[in-house]
């Protein structure tokens, strides 16, 4: 009787594990770290990690969609910085109302993304080059706009988006979950989402089915710009300062989260749930290395090795 129960439980656990295959690397990482540091598996630290992950996660959601279409976006970090700077400048220098300033910041990010989309979808230029160019251009814009100096001095309302709480839950986490759900539904349940997969799977076939693939792609890049802008505003609020160089290197982190999460760089398959797992792997790793006080040079080696191991475990468990 007991054995049977055991068997059933075992089977259930295996099934659950199977369903969340992408998470197995993360799971093992969490288990190992909780043995290594007594601080790791505590509620404050867990909240801390998900707050830290939220900014890169929001960027990664947009990146997931771009990569699903078979594209790439290297300009997310610069778009993030630009939007943050614009919002900050509108408030501090131009004295605009917080919400109007945020709106303008979001519009700025969306516009840059929209331009990426036009160049990729309409002018048929390679996404890598287009967004690499946008990466420098938007960074240039940001440096020009800020004259290379941080902008700070925000009011409390603005601070809320990055530093506020809803009960015990930090606002950035709330915003991240909101977008996670929205984009999950968008991808799974709406025609727009299905077309994104279709384009990445076989663009010609999608076009032959009468779908305006160009429009979809432009929308995806614009949405990606929008999400980068959301992150930029949260980061600015959280840091209490718009940094002209913020978001540098985020493109690689975001792409890494997407790919770690099981999305193929050639497009067509992957999920946003995988992406959040990927982003968590990176964040947990950074947190763990800090908690264990690993010295800086060895941190690099450890980080690379663990990422390699995580993706290795994931892919092996998926092959079974």
């Amino acid at each position: 009787m007991n054995k049977l129960n055991n068997d059933i439980q075992k089977k259930n656990i295996l099934e659950i594990l199977n369903k969340f295959k992408t998470g197995i690397g993360l799971l093992i990482l969490v288990i190992v770290l909780s043995f290594m540091s007594p601080y790791f598996l505590t509620i404050p630290n867990i909240l801390n990690i998900i707050r830290q992950v939220s900014i890169i996660a929001i960027v990664s959601f947009g990146m997931t969609m771009v990569i699903l279409t078979g594209g790439i976006d290297l300009s997310v970090g610069s778009m993030l910085a630009f939007s943050g700077a614009i919002s900050a400048g509108m408030m501090v220098n131009s004295g605009l109302n917080v919400f109007l300033a945020i709106f303008i910041g979001l519009a700025a990010g969306t516009a840059l993304g929209f331009f990426n989309g036009l160049a990729v979808a309409k002018a048929k230029l390679p996404a890598f080059i287009v967004t690499l160019a946008m990466m420098t251009i938007a960074r240039g814009f940001t440096l020009i706009y800020t004259n290379g100096r941080p902008i700070s001095g925000f009011n409390e309302t603005f601070r809320f988006f990055g530093a506020g709480y809803l009960g015990r839950i930090p606002i950035p986490v709330v915003i991240m979950f909101m977008f996670l759900v929205i984009i999950y539904i968008l991808l799974k349940k709406t025609p727009f989402g299905r077309y994104i997969y279709a384009i990445g799977g076989n663009e010609t076939a999608t076009k032959l089915s009468g779908i305006n693939t160009e429009k979809i792609k432009v929308a995806v890049y614009a949405l990606n710009g929008f999400l980068a802008a959301v992150s930029g505003i949260i980061l600015t609020s959280r840091l209490n300062s718009a940094q002209p160089m913020s978001g540098e290197g985020y493109e690689l982190d975001a792409i890494a989260a997407v790919v770690l999460g099981g999305t193929s760089l050639s497009g067509g398959s992957g999920t946003v749930i995988g992406t959040i797992v990927g982003a968590l792997i990176i964040a947990v790793l950074n947190n763990g290395l800090n908690l264990l006080n690993v010295s800086s040079f060895y941190q690099l080696v450890a980080k690379g090795a663990v990422i390699l191991l995580a993706v290795f475990l994931d892919r092996k468990s998926q092959q079974q």
Partner: protein
């Protein structure tokens, strides 16, 4: 029974760089008729239909649909005007499921969401109508090529179009599925839908078509009523000469055993297969779609990592861990799926043909001898009559049938001793088919051992000297080809053993 004409194409001309694919072609279609479009590989059939559907712009000519001249910029406009097309090369999305593929771009919505309930229901309906058992929720990538073909058909049929173009819909189907398709075509005809039917199987043309238009080298050769013509006459129109019999009289000369398979098992794919193969014989493998014929072939060819059982080659036990091992031993497998597994579409004809033998044509032991490479390609272009402006043409620009010939050339270039043909005549015209059969004869005359997997039962029955039949990943039995008939094969293929 003078029906009204729904479509007229006049003087259609289309040139690709270096190729005049269509040269002043006329074509007309009446309501409720099935109109066959036939011609050799590369005659321009697919191109004509692509021009009709707004996929390729035409250089010259007029298209008159229901009395109105039309100018489609893209497929969406063609769809709106009531045209649907089943593409020769499957155009499906690997990671979307069957239902999503069938209704891609035409989903029922529930507000902003896809109404999945309705989507699956409608998919069930279409699939039921086609009489196939495919799970609407299955991902395309997990379906075999035959099922994918049925999905492609379902996709076109579900558009409720007035004009339905079928570009070789049966090339990957088994007899049963073909029967189902023909019943469907009969029903569509009753609904006054006009159908353009492209096929290289002339018996099909006589079975279901009312009229036939023949193209040759991009030119219109003629239009005839099926009732006023016969196969020989059509073939003459297509190839400009007569071809006596569909199948040659094969002469087998089985000598030593060259390959012996014992208890070959691949988890989930092949269940303990055993058989042997002699030099100079053709062993046919028959079975229904999904019976595991392709997997058996691939298992021998070293595609699967996990496998058990023994392979003996010339009496010696050998290990085949990869296709490279197989090819080095003289075994070559011709895939049923030329687009995914056979060709590098972005490389030239010459580069594709030479890829397996590149190391044997070197200058100074290091550099590719491009003269030798081009000569090799030109030899096969001539031998197999591959229609291409030159050996430097990219394979992706060839017609489907000619692509198939390129894969066959690649195989022949390795001078193999055991050849596994998996659906070798898929999409190949009558003349070329006959050439491939002749080629098989030449191969066995040279002492090569041939395994032939084909969904065209007559092919297996007429060309093999022995036939093994598979059912659900197992070998059900072996038949002597001389005595076997369609019925005996089908009995085994559906899982009933002969008493």
């Amino acid at each position: 029974m003078a029906k009204e004409t729904v479509l007229e194409m006049k003087n259609i001309t289309k040139t690709f760089p270096g190729v005049k694919a269509l040269d002043k072609v006329d074509f007309s279609l009446k309501k409720g008729e099935v109109h066959a479009l036939v011609g050799e590989n590369g005659a321009g059939k697919s191109t004509l239909m692509k021009v009709l559907n707004g996929i390729h712009p035409r250089d010259e000519g007029k298209i008159i649909l229901k009395g109105e001249p039309v100018e489609f910029e893209n497929t969406k406009e063609a769809q709106k005007a009531g045209l649907a097309i089943i593409h020769q090369e499957l155009e499906l999305i690997p990671y979307l499921n069957v239902a999503e593929n069938i209704f891609l771009g035409r989903e029922d919505r529930n507000g902003i969401f896809i109404n999945y309930q309705k989507l699956y229901q409608k998919t069930e309906e279409v699939l039921d109508m086609l009489g196939v058992d495919i799970d609407p929720k299955a991902q395309i990538k997990d379906l075999n090529i035959g099922s994918q073909q049925m999905v492609e058909i379902a996709k076109a049929v579900s558009q409720n179009a007035d004009i339905l173009v079928m570009d070789e819909p049966t090339s990957s189907l088994t007899n049963q599925e073909i029967d189902i398709l023909f019943e469907l075509i009969a029903r569509l005809k009753e609904q006054e839908i006009a159908i353009v039917y492209i096929s290289h199987r002339l018996e099909e043309v006589f079975e279901i078509c009312d009229r036939v238009t023949v193209l040759r080298d991009g030119q219109f050769v003629g239009e005839v009523e099926t009732s006023n013509t016969n196969e020989d006459q059509l073939i003459k129109m297509m190839v400009g000469r007569t071809i006596e019999d569909r199948f040659p009289e094969m002469n087998f000369n089985p000598t030593d055993e060259i390959l012996k398979i014992e208890n070959l098992t691949v988890p989930d794919e092949i269940n303990s297969a055993s058989f042997s193969l002699k030099k100079g014989e053709i062993l046919g493998i028959a079975g229904l779609m999904g019976s595991g014929r392709t997997e058996l072939a691939k298992a021998i060819f070293g595609v699967f990592k996990e496998k058990s059982g023994d392979i003996y080659y010339r009496g010696k036990k050998i290990e085949i861990k990869s296709p490279a091992d197989a090819i080095n031993n003289g075994i070559y497998y011709l895939s049923e799926n030329r687009k995914e597994e056979g060709l590098v579409l972005g490389l030239s004809v010459a580069n594709n043909i030479s890829v397996s033998v590149l190391k044997s044509m070197l200058k100074a032991n290091t550099f590719i001898d491009s003269n030798a490479e081009n000569n090799l390609a030109r030899k096969y272009i001539e031998d197999l009559k591959i229609k291409t402006p030159s050996e430097k043409q990219l394979v992706k620009n060839l017609s489907g049938g000619n692509q198939q010939k390129v894969v066959i050339s690649k195989l022949l270039s390795t001078k193999p001793e055991v050849v596994i043909f998996d659906e070798p005549t898929r999409g190949i015209d009558v003349g070329a088919k006959r050439e491939i059969y002749n080629l098989m004869q030449e191969l066995i005359d040279d002492g090569v051992a041939v395994i032939l997997i084909s969904s065209e039962l007559p092919e297996v029955l007429n060309l093999s000297n022995r036939i093994i039949v598979m059912h659900e990943k197992k070998i059900m039995g072996e038949l002597d080809a001389a005595e076997a008939d369609q019925e005996a094969v089908m009995k085994l293929a559906t899982g009933r053993r002969n008493q």
